[in-house]
Structure formats: C-alpha cells, structure tokens
Symmetry: D2
C-alpha cells in the first residue's frame, strides 16, 4: 500500500529500486520563489555518497542529480519538484546466485512474505540507496530552514563501545566534517576509525549512535496531540532502515532521573524565557520551546557481513549458509549523518508550514 510519501504540507514521495533504472523523489508543497540550483542538491548528495573513504563501501555511486520540474529560471514555481538520479555502477551478479536466501537482518524475508515477489538485486526498494532521494528532498528543506535561521547538524557520538566526549557547538561544527567518521571528538574519531577497520577486516560490522541538533528552531512547532514534533521526528528517524531507537533530549536516561533532576527550570535572559538545562531536548508537550532540538538514533551494525551466517533458502524451504560478498559499509554511522539531518530538516519545514496556518488569522 501507499507508504512512500512523507510530510503533510511539505511532502516528498520517493521511488526506485537499488538496481533499477533510477531512483528519485517528487517534492510537493515547496513554496514558490525559492532560489534553487542543482548544486544545492548535489552538495548534500555528495556528503552521503559512498566510496569516499576507506571506512565506507567501495561501490562508486556518481549520484548525479537532475531536476526535471518545479524550477524555472533558478526559482521554485510552487509546483512539484521532480528529481532523479540514474543508477550507475550496478553489479547485480552477486545477488543472482543467492536470490532465494534470506540475508539475516535484511528485508528479504519480510518483503517476500508481504509481496510474494521482490527485486532481490541490491536489496531492491529496501536498499539504503533509497535514502539518496531523502537527501535530495532534504537539501531543499535545509535551504528553506536557512532562510529562517534554522540549522541542522548531525555527528557520530558512539561507535561500538567508543563514546565521544561532549564538545561545544562551535567545535562540533568545525570538527565534524574533518574526519571520515564524522565524530566531533577528534581523539575518539581516531579510535572509532580504528575499530571500524578492525571489524571490516574480520568481515564483520559495527553499530553506533548519531546525534542531530537543530538550532534556531522557534517556539511553537509541532501539533498536539499525535503530530507532536518529537513524534514526527521519531517516525522520520525510525523510518531509516538501520535505526533501532530514537531518543529526544535526556532520552532513555530520563528513566533513571527524578522529576527535580529532569525538569528544566525556566529563567529570563535578555527578556526571553529560556531553560537552564535542556533535558527536554527543546520540546515540551510535543511543541518546540525555542531551545535547541536534540535527537539521538541507535544505528545497528550493517546487516551485510562477509562472515558466514546460518539462513534459509526461501524457495527450497531449507536451511543453508550465506556469506555476503558485495561491497558494504562496515559501519553506516558516518553516512547516515546527512540522511538523518535531511529527515530532521524535512520534519522541521513541514512543522513550520503547519504552524504558519495556526496564527494571525483574525485581526
């Protein structure tokens, strides 16, 4: 059934299989008059692109985006923006021979059960490649947010059991793109990179935690009671295939706190009401408070590993062993950063537009 659209007012619909002709996205609801170029989109796609460092997959995806509609003389028209990336450097052979074997941790089995057939090449629709379309749409969202002074930034805070120290926001911005892991604690980054290389050598993979911070978010975004800002963020982020957990502010740590520790007390600074701490992660009762919005996601270790695993041939209905050759990221965390940022940006733009219509209607 339908399920390939996201957002209510600023709405994207993505399409495409990993080894099909192309993947793409249609963005409906982008207001007219936004300056938009192919470079705006390409820049974000390049941040997600594999094959750029030793710790990501060697699959080379040119990922050159084309804008097919909705932009005229450098400005958005208010009509749907259709974007497309042709699939290149596709090698479907490794998938042919094991096409009936359900890869552990992947969607092969559940898709087969749901649809009765599937495009087994490269994971088909369930491939992480699908997130390129999200990033393309997210690039537009980011451009809109910039006009509002809102910035979204993601960074890796944990890989395996290696945890990054907390660094200030300015250092974070400075450091995060300087290393292949996208970790703002440069010491931890070195150790994380080392660990990733080790697990890669073992034919294994490793998980981690990514944090996304949005600054400049005005108070008032999010709709009670089901479309709370944190609920929308949770859905957006959990819709990424590799994500197994989402937390806001203090998150799971809140479970261990007392109310007097958790509650963020209010004070006044320069005439503005603020909170001393930000355990709420910038969201109160589902509505943004004006403090930075903070989310963290649990990223599972990449499912495709070279190590032998026990599995089942779904056609023959018999047990078997599988070793996944292909080219895969030993740790997806660094590449998920721009994708998670895109999802957060998409949620924020949608909420921003939904909020617009709540105000100033009667004079």
């Amino acid at each position: 059934m339908t399920g390939n659209s996201f957002g209510m007012i600023f709405r994207m619909t993505t399409w495409g299989e990993s080894h099909g002709a192309a993947i793409g996205v249609v963005v409906d609801g982008c207001p007219a008059g936004l300056e938009l170029s192919v470079e705006d989109i390409q820049h974000e796609l390049d941040r997600r692109k594999p094959g750029v460092s030793e710790i990501t997959t060697e699959r080379k995806e040119a990922d050159v985006v084309q804008i097919l509609s909705g932009v005229f003389e450098g400005q958005t028209l208010g009509t749907p923006i259709s974007m497309l990336v042709w699939n290149k450097d596709v090698d479907s052979r490794p998938y042919e021979e094991r096409k009936h074997v359900a890869r552990p941790g992947q969607a092969d089995f559940s898709y087969q059960m749901k649809y009765g057939l599937r495009d087994y090449r490269g994971g088909g629709r369930a491939s992480g490649r699908e997130t390129a379309a999200r990033v393309a749409a997210g690039a537009i969202a980011k451009k809109i947010l910039t006009a509002y002074g809102i910035q979204t930034i993601g960074h890796v805070v944990e890989v395996g059991r290696i945890r990054a120290r907390e660094v200030g926001f300015e250092d974070l911005k400075k450091n995060v793109e300087r290393n292949a892991v996208r970790c703002a604690d440069l010491d931890a980054a070195v150790r994380m990179e080392q660990l990733i290389k080790e697990v890669k050598a073992e034919g294994d993979s490793v998980g981690g935690i990514v944090e996304i911070i949005a600054t400049g978010v005005p108070a008032g975004l999010g709709e009670p009671v089901f479309d709370k800002l944190d609920a929308e963020l949770a859905k957006a982020l959990m819709s990424l295939g590799a994500v197994k957990g989402v937390e806001i502010g203090a998150g799971f740590e809140a479970a261990r706190l007392k109310g007097s520790e958790m509650n963020d007390e209010f004070f006044i600074e320069d005439g503005r009401i603020k909170t001393k701490t930000n355990n709420a992660g910038g969201i109160l009762g589902g509505i943004s408070s004006g403090e930075p919005v903070i989310c963290r996601i649990a990223v599972k270790p990449t499912s495709s590993i070279a190590k032998p695993q026990r599995s089942v041939d779904m056609a023959k209905k018999q047990e078997t062993e599988i070793k996944i050759k292909g080219r895969h990221d030993p740790c997806i965390c660094s590449r998920i950063v721009p994708v998670a940022e895109a999802m957060v940006a998409l949620v924020l733009v949608d909420c921003l537009m939904r909020t617009t219509v709540c105000r100033n209607h009667y004079k």
Copy 2:
C-alpha cells in the same frame, strides 16, 4: 493545525481538555460486524484509571464511557464510533493562582507561545487525561486484534535505576496485573513500589522504562519506506507526553553490537521460517517478520512535583518559584502501560488493514 487524528485506515480523532466538559474520541474505519459493548471499552479505561493504588494520583476519575454512535444492536455498523467521558471530580482552583507560571517540564510555555492563549486548568489539552480517549479507541483495536490472534501486553521493566529480571512470557502475563507497578518480576516490583513511595514522600517523582510485546503478529505488516511498522510505532509511542525515547528489539544496545551478534539467523521449525534470536524486535526492513514485536519506551519522571522549582511568570515576564500542589502520580509508568498497549494495538490494526489491500487482488 490538525494533529488530533491518528491512523490512516483505522483512524481515531480525539478531543477534549482536562477540565473541560468532556473528553472523547471518534473512531473512523472500524469494519462493520464487530461485536462491541460498553464493557469492552470500560474494562480498558479502568486499567488506566487513577486513584486505584497508593502509588498513583488520588484524583478520582470515574471515567464512565458512553458510546454515542456506530454501534447498533451490539455490532459495529462500519460508521464512526463516537465515545465520550464526562469530566468529573475536577478541581481547577490550584491552577487559577499560578495560571501564568510555566510549570517546568510541562507544555504551558510552548502552548502559550504557539497559540497565544491556553486552557491552563489541569494542563488543558496537554494533560495526560487525553490518553483516556486513546485507550477507549485502543480497546476497539484490541478487540479486532483478538480475532486475528494478536495480543499486546505491556509491563514495567525499569523504575529509577531498579531493573526487572527477564521473565518468561507466560509468567509475564500472570504477574503483570498482580502488583501496582505492573512489573512482571515480583521482587523488583516490591523495590520499585518502595522507591516510588520514597520519591512521593520527598515531593518528587521518578521515571522508568515500559516494554510492550505484541505476539501473533503475522509477517508482512508495515509499509515501506516511510510508513514502516517501527516508524509508525515510534510515532505512536513518542506521541505520549511522558515518553522521551522509543526502541525496537535490541534498540540502543544495537549500537554496541557487531553485525554477527546483531543479525538474527534464520532457521526452519515445523515448516515455518523463524529466527533464532529476536534482536530485530520482529521487524525487518520496516515489515513484520512473524516474530514477536518488541518495543520499549523511556518514561520521564512526572513533571508535576511538590518540590519548589524556579520558573517564570509569563504574564509579568519575571522569575518566580513554583510548588505544584494538585494530585499527581509520583511515577506514571504503571498507568502508561494500558495507554502504550492501546497505541501499539492501534498501529497494528491500521497496518493490518493497510496490508489487506496489498494482496490477492489478481486471480
């Protein structure tokens, strides 16, 4: 803006303020011919009801539900089911005097910023009381799930730093309603209850973790790519005011694992393809695999505490102190159990119906 509806095909719309005339819900999309009585609904509402033990708020909410439409001669008509609970035992006085003071951890400030006005009595629309409407709708969802052999069950696994031992599923079902905390580890339950009484005596509150398990879920539920089953669950659960985190299966622990540890290997038992472990929490690529669906939520400590807190008078724009008198739960975990079950049930029914239309269309 709109935001008070949940579900696509089995869809509820809730309404009502905590101290208004009533709260209620309209359930649209319930198929015709389901046997449904007021008792089916009341039973679930009673599980959520406060004032039943020493560790919950003393506010007595009769919470007697009325069904106003959609049911005829004991069966659903396929038309909207409107249900209503009149607000009784309402005491708005404690809210009058501090109506301009933003309670830390609550939605007072963000609602005020969003709407420019609010019903300050009892939290208004942001009150946890709103969840009674969800539970009423969830009772219908549960009834439908029962016909499919699907069961949802929630239990408290952590309060403060006290963690419950894992118990088998049968013990879980047997134990969970036997103690006020709804913890299946009866020893831990005693210690949890003790802790809750302590924090209550201190005028404080404490958080915890609740796990919800759904058994009997067939493979194939959930829609790629945005409306994944886990994404829908994350939204559903994060839309509860007290929830700061959601995880599926191994959840945040997945971040620390290697692929070879995380991946659930497939095997065959009695002709059915199963997994040896369930780190995926019953969901692969966003689609149910046939294994039990497992979610956990981080429940923050109740924001309303008697201890003095620093805050701000929003009208006078000046700092002040607040002590929240009212009657409040020192730990909301036990009462959130039926609410979280309701949300999971609502997601499952909606996904079940969405899945129906994917199959068997061409012969």
Copy 3:
C-alpha cells in the same frame, strides 16, 4: 473505511446515526483566538431546522448544539472543537416494519451490500440528518471567512420546471430569507411554494437547483492540479446525498458556447485586474481569480414519498410494494441552502489556510 472527515487543514469529522443517541462533529485545525459562542453555531442550525414551514418535514428537531471542547473563555484554543446535538423527537416505529425493504432512491440497498448490516431507523448514517453536523462546522468556517471579508450565500434558482429570474446581489441577500423556499425572485417563490404543496398533496416530491455564491474570495485559492478549488467544491457539494450534479460558472451551458463567448476578457478597474463576464465562476485553472465564486447544484426530488413504489424485501429476497409514511420534506431545496453554504465555506477556509503556507516564506 474512513470517509467521515473533510478538509485537509481545517478538518471536520462527523459522526452519528439519525435515530442513535446523538450526532456530532469534531473540528480540528481551527486556529486559536477566534471568538466563538454557542449562538454562532445555533443560528446556522436553526436555518437548517425542519418543521419551520408548511413545505418542510413536520419532524421537530430541537437541534440544540453543545460545545464540549476547544473553546475557553469565549475563544477557540486551537484544539479540536467537539460539538454534539442529542437526537430527540425520534420515532423509529415506521422503520421497524419495513426494515428489510430497500426504499427506492435511498441508501438501504447499497449500505446493506457494503456492510452486511445497517441501522435502518431513519436512514441511519445515510440520513440527511447527518448534515446538521456539517452545518455546525460550517458555522465556524463562516465566522473565519467573515474576518476575511468573504461571504457565502445560497438561494434556490429552480424548483421542478419553475425557474427564478436573475436578481441583483443586494436583492438576493434581502429576499432570500423572506420566503420559505429561499428563492430571491419573490414571484417565482410563490409559484414554487404552490408546486411544492401540490406534489406534497400527491404524496410525491420535487427537485430543484440551488446556487451558492461566495463574494470577497481573494485571488489565489485552490491548489493545482488535483486539489483545484472547483474540484474541492465539486466533491464537497456532491457529497450531499441529494445532489446529482455540480456546475461552476457557466457550467453545462459552457458545452454549447464558443471560446470567444465563454472566455472572460480581462480589463483594469481602479488598478485592479478584473474580468468583464464571469463564465469561469471565479475560478481559472482551478485557482480563484478574485471574481465571485459561483456554483450550482442539482437537487434530486426527496426519495421518501408516500406514493406506492415497487421494491424488494432484501431478507426474503422477494418483490414487494412500499409506501413511505414517516415525515418527509416534499422538496429539500430550501433546507439544503444552509448546508450547501456550509460546505462551500468549509472548502474556502481550508483552501485559504492551505494558501497561507504558499507565500511569504523567504525574505
């Protein structure tokens, strides 16, 4: 399945069966800060109420509305507004005896086929009584439109073969509520009333045409390409049970015109771009042009007639005859006027809010 909600951003969900406990509506998405009283709603409901003249049904519906949520101290909160009308003066006996006989022109047969059961009393959910809920929601929409200088006004332009002369807009406003038929041509009104009494005496009914005009609609409402303003109006009006046709501007007459006759030429008056004629009915390419929006609906003769009709007993699966006793309007046109106005107002408010988010986003 779901189908009881209307509107995207200003959204109503209606519920209730004709002879059930009550009927009602939840309006989600009404911005905060609108002054709203029960009288605002009751006034419109009274315009729809039956039993006020000789030419409408004798069923007396007190139709006293209650507002249960969303309004606080006389202002809307931005939260759902739940409204309810208890069903009174209900006499289900006439329906008992013929409960298995499909009334010609009614929904008995199609509901039975769709759901396998139905509330046969008074038409159940398919009753025209359901429109009271629309009128209640429409009253809020009208209040918002007034703040924008937009006015919707309906009038009967044809009953049977009696056609009203065209009258100026000021006369229309003055005359329309002065006669039971709601026809602005007072001479035609007399003849229409006479015709309605005649068909009533025959145990028959008669149809007609109602026109709804919206003035003050700013240019720019309506969304290409599927959610055009005229498409939304067509859906809104065709969703009324008695409506068999909808036309905009020249409507079906356009089929007989040449382009040079149909096209509305532009000119400038007081610096504003206007059209000399309004064959487009105020809508160009699905978007309002600033000219008055004009729709007409074909209202079928009331299906419930006393005259004997051939039909079928659905339980016994055998042919039979039916004479419908109950109390029914011989012509529904005058009573459909406030309902059609409500639907047009609901569409306009929704489009107005949807349009808000298209503009002024980048400075």
Copy 4:
C-alpha cells in the same frame, strides 16, 4: 501547497511543466504481482495523443513513456511505479513575446496572483499536457479493473448544440473509436466534425459534453459520508482544467423530476436485486449499487483561440489585445475521453481497495 496527489490507497503524484524537461507520475499503492508492460501504458497515451486528426492540435507529442521503477521481470513489485515522458517538439517562442499578457480563460492570471511567478511557456503546470501523466497512471488502474471485470468507457455526447442519439452499449463500444470525435452516434459525429472544422476556420473553439460509463462495478464501493463514490468522481473529473460541470445519472435533469419519476424501483432478476431504471447513475447514498456508473462532464470550449481578445498585460498593468497563435485543439472533447476514463478508473480502483478493508475481518 501540496495538491498534486490523487487517491488515498492507490495514489498517484504527478509533476512537470508543459515545456520543462519532462512530465511524469509516481503511482504508490499498486499491489504486487500485476503484469504490467510499457505497452499497457503507451496504448492509453496514444489514445490521448494530439496530432492524430484534423480536428486536434497539430503539436506532435511523441509521448513515449518510460517505466523507471516498481516493475521487475514484468510484474509490479508493490513499490512505487515511476513513469516519465520527456517533453519533445516544444516551441516556446510564441509564449515569450506575450508572457505578461493573461490569456482569457486560462490560468495565467490566477497562477501569477497565487505564486508571484510562473512558467509561462505552454501554460506551464496548468497545461493540459499534465493530463498525460494521469492517463499513464490510469492505464495501470484500468489493468487492475479488468481483473475485476470492470470496464470504463467514455464517449462524446454533445458538441456545441449537436446532441448524439442514445445508442446501445455494444454499439457504443464498437463506434466510439471509429471516428475522430469519439461519438458513438456516427451521424452526429459527422455533423460534430463539420462544426469543429468551422469553428477552427473562424479561429474559434467549441465545447461539448462527454459521458463516462463504468460497467461491472460491484455494489458497495464508496465511503460515507464525505468520500462518497459520486463525490470522489466529481472531484476527479472537475480537477480537469476544461471541465465546468459534473453530473451523475439523471444529473441536472433530476431537478425537474418528481420523486416518483426519479426513484429507481427495485426488482429481482436471476436472484439479483436490480433497478428498472438508472436515474441514480449506479450510486445510492454515495455507494455503488451494482448498476452501471454513469457520469457526464461539461467541457468548455478551448480557451486558446486565434480570434483577438481584450486582455491585460500584468507587468505593465495596462489593457491590450491578444491573438493566440500556437497550435491548439478547436474542440478538446475527443481528447478528453481517455483522460476522463483514466480519472474514473483511478477513483474506482481506489474505492475498490478502500472497500476491501471493510469486509471479512472477523470470522
């Protein structure tokens, strides 16, 4: 704002400007396992294609469709089907010189007011070219309907004041594609064609009426109360730029009838409940009755005419004259037939799927 998607469960999103790079559509919600080829789509596109007869525009649109996703080894995957047609034979020069002049009857003025800018070339997004995307999606819908024994067929019943005689359904199917007008009354077709050539020679255009019949529609489609089958059809058809009116069954004629004339009496034939007449157009209370579904649309004369018209230069804000050169259809009726069929088919498939979930849920 968003407005480029249609359908709830079987949902298409269209994109593209007339003289942009391409136009296309993403179909989300098509069940897996449907055999689908490019030829299935191309066949319908060819029926809509201009340049095939003397009475349509001379613009040659190759309109070769590509399927980019959602189909694998000849079968649908259950994932989004993305289809694209590159824009060829585009000549934007005639639009350059008059780009600021609002063409009467077109969307230039309203788009300019709504968005503040527009792609003026060939009507941009408001061009009839957009309907090619609908036809591509409709081709899939038709394929699904065929599996259910449902057929949709459109024909021209009126051009200018020339009305076709009623012909039997078999003759209709036989005759309709045999003449350029797509009129089943071959005598009328000759006169219509003659009229169209005359108005073309005058530099003018002419309107008409198209009827669409759907046979084999099972009873039970359509959702009360807002998403009635006729309401959905009305929206679908009115969303076509050239349509100014929609009627179902007796339509506007119903306004002139008595209840005893309008009501379709029930009888039993071969154990099935049927109606003697079909004034209801196959829809009772918004739900299909099992009789053929019959809609008619009023098609306005093409707005683009060579005759001089008075208009306004929107940039200079001054009155001027316009003669539209380009290549335009003097009568759009014959080409709207496959488009209207597509819209009806899309509504029926969506309603069919929505209905599926209403039944057989409890055993």
